[in-house]
Point group: C2
Chain length 369, copies 2
């Protein structure tokens, strides 16, 4: 694809523009109903302003999912593109709308969904490398033109992503479980915390929230997501998300009943509690930890940091010095002080070498897999 | 406290020993029923082996919570300690057992609970700095000896922790919400994923788990915790955890019903979905992000990393060079390559300076609060 029109200059649209221009893969024109978004995306280098008439080989509709099909209809009536795609978080409903709204060329549309995002939104949060190494679902219906499918595959690769082809239905089933259910779980959990805090405030003095640890922070991180966008996403994939949310509620009701039994002195609840924890541990082991790699492929090298400025920089410099690639860093330390522990995630093959190199330079190092 | 006996050399017990010996605060003796744990804790420098008769000013029982009271009874019959504490994750039930088991001196016992832990367990995972900057709940019942309470406060401070005094009941209410509920939520969510994967395997080919992003990984991290220990903790605090788990299940059933309505074309569900997302966002804003500090006190400086080894080390070195303290690092990059983005969490006051320093050295930097 050499000419791409991006309609909708939010996080995804502007990032696609930045990625395509960064790799020199295509000439990019941009359009957004909000002039300030269009302006910012142009200023950030995501492309040049679309003049409203120019044709494009591929049109990428990166609007909120609820208006994707209407936007496609409008653009096809203007005969703007040869092929079309979109980046909606749900695919079946958009595909259904594409087929039923009377588009001149519904088969020129192949939906896509880059599995990348950030908690921030808008063109200011866009990154040219947002998609690098991430999966990009490509959801061609059986009737789609082969060239439309090829164009989306090329788009995904040009953005550095890994295309994953699957039907719109299968996509929606997968994201219902892997993306939409965790969002609902995190929001509902944080809502319970909010409710308990409000109740504590009114009844018996505020709860000591300072006792919260990193576990609660991690588990509720998704609850900070955009409310309007997620309302739309959950509604748009309601059919697939509903049974998953109900399954989670059922698990939790089972635990609640088991806890009530345990609190009443009935030991039978124990097996239920243990069963959920066990199945959870098994499920956790199935979940890819870093971009497709399973947790087991990595080792954690834990380094005790001394009370010196630049300590973490020195540790990472030592890792770079022996050409060990650090996949992730987790810091546990006291605010305002560099003292603490750094956990470096590295491949199992390189962990021993890193441990040796750091220990040789005087750090106290522990290795865990 | 100058002489401390630690009974139970797991993660917490051995870490307490390391912390006390690291600060030179106390002479530490160690005891564990599992000779290999005792041996490893001694080898790691957590203290010297207890001879089974020596007296101690403070005895710290760091066994699994279910055997704390029995262990205290045994130790008091031997007249080993002047004062006693424990580190159980639930306090009311242990306190009840202390009062009902016939201990010679129940009022010499003041429970505590350091709010620190790791996914790993055992003395091999112990760290002398595990408690630094972390809250340490100190739960003195009204009848407790003042000197017992003082000894536990001193212990917490000697380990670098911040003592938080509250009643055993209030402690159990707080951790039910802030620690035990997130554990149940993460386990139940991961169990639903495991179930869906098993069902997908048998019915229609495996689910494309590669589509999972960091959101699912974060939300299920706690599901990797120790099953036996958590079964005991949830059972021991069942009375307080049960209504929280039921409240979460009820939230989720409300969302499931709203999704079912939305899937059937009824727009009334939208308000329910939006309401949970909104309350979740509000709850998320209440949760301390890094050791007591709220998310708002920090800014995120995002740096685009070039494809060079040691890039992150150079960025952190530059931060150290301008004396900016990096509170946390989040890496997003492609496995096997240093290309990607690093997000540095720094105090709002220092963010501008860091951004300037990095931009001056040629990095592309974005600032978000």
């Amino acid at each position: 694809v050499s000419e791409v029109l991006v309609v909708g200059c939010g996080l995804l649209g502007a990032s696609i523009g930045l990625a395509l221009r960064g790799s020199g893969a295509a000439e990019v024109t941009l359009s957004d109903r909000r002039p300030e978004h269009e302006q910012l995306a142009v200023e950030r280098g995501a492309g040049r302003r679309w003049d409203g008439r120019e044709r494009a080989e591929l049109v990428v509709v990166a609007t909120p999912p609820g208006v994707v099909a209407g936007t496609l209809l409008e653009l096809q009536r203007l005969e703007v593109g040869r092929t079309y795609t979109h980046v909606a978080s749900y695919q079946s409903l958009v595909q259904h709308e594409v087929e039923s709204l009377g588009l001149p060329q519904p088969d020129a549309v192949v939906g896509g969904h880059p599995m990348a995002g950030r908690e921030q939104s808008g063109p200011g949060a866009a990154q040219g490398d947002l998609f690098v190494g991430r999966p990009w679902a490509v959801c061609a219906p059986p009737s789609a033109w082969p060239e439309a499918r090829t164009a989306v595959l090329e788009l995904a690769r040009a953005c550095g992503a890994v295309p994953v082809e699957l039907s719109p239905e299968r996509h929606d089933q997968a994201v219902a479980l892997l993306s939409h259910l965790p969002q609902v779980a995190a929001s509902a959990l944080a809502a319970v915390v909010a409710g308990a805090v409000a109740e504590g405030d009114s009844l018996e003095g505020s709860l000591p929230l300072s006792l919260a640890g990193p576990g609660l922070a991690d588990t509720t991180r998704l609850a900070g997501s955009d409310v309007a966008l997620w309302t739309e996403i959950l509604q748009g994939n309601a059919h697939e998300v509903e049974p998953r949310v109900r399954a989670l509620a059922t698990e939790l009701l089972g635990v609640a009943d088991a806890l009530a039994a345990a609190a009443a002195g009935d030991p039978a609840g124990r097996a239920v509690i243990q069963g959920v924890l066990r199945r959870g541990r098994d499920g956790r082991a199935l979940i890819p930890m870093k971009r497709g790699a399973l947790a087991g492929a990595f080792a954690r090298v834990r380094v005790e940091l001394n009370d010196r400025p630049g300590e973490l920089a020195a540790v990472l410099g030592a890792a770079a010095g022996v050409l060990v690639n650090v996949e992730d860093v987790r810091l546990e330390h006291v605010p305002g002080s560099p003292r603490g522990t750094a956990e470096l995630l590295v491949s199992v093959d390189e962990a021993g070498e890193l441990q040796h190199a750091l220990a040789e330079r005087g750090w106290i190092v522990h290795l865990s897999t």
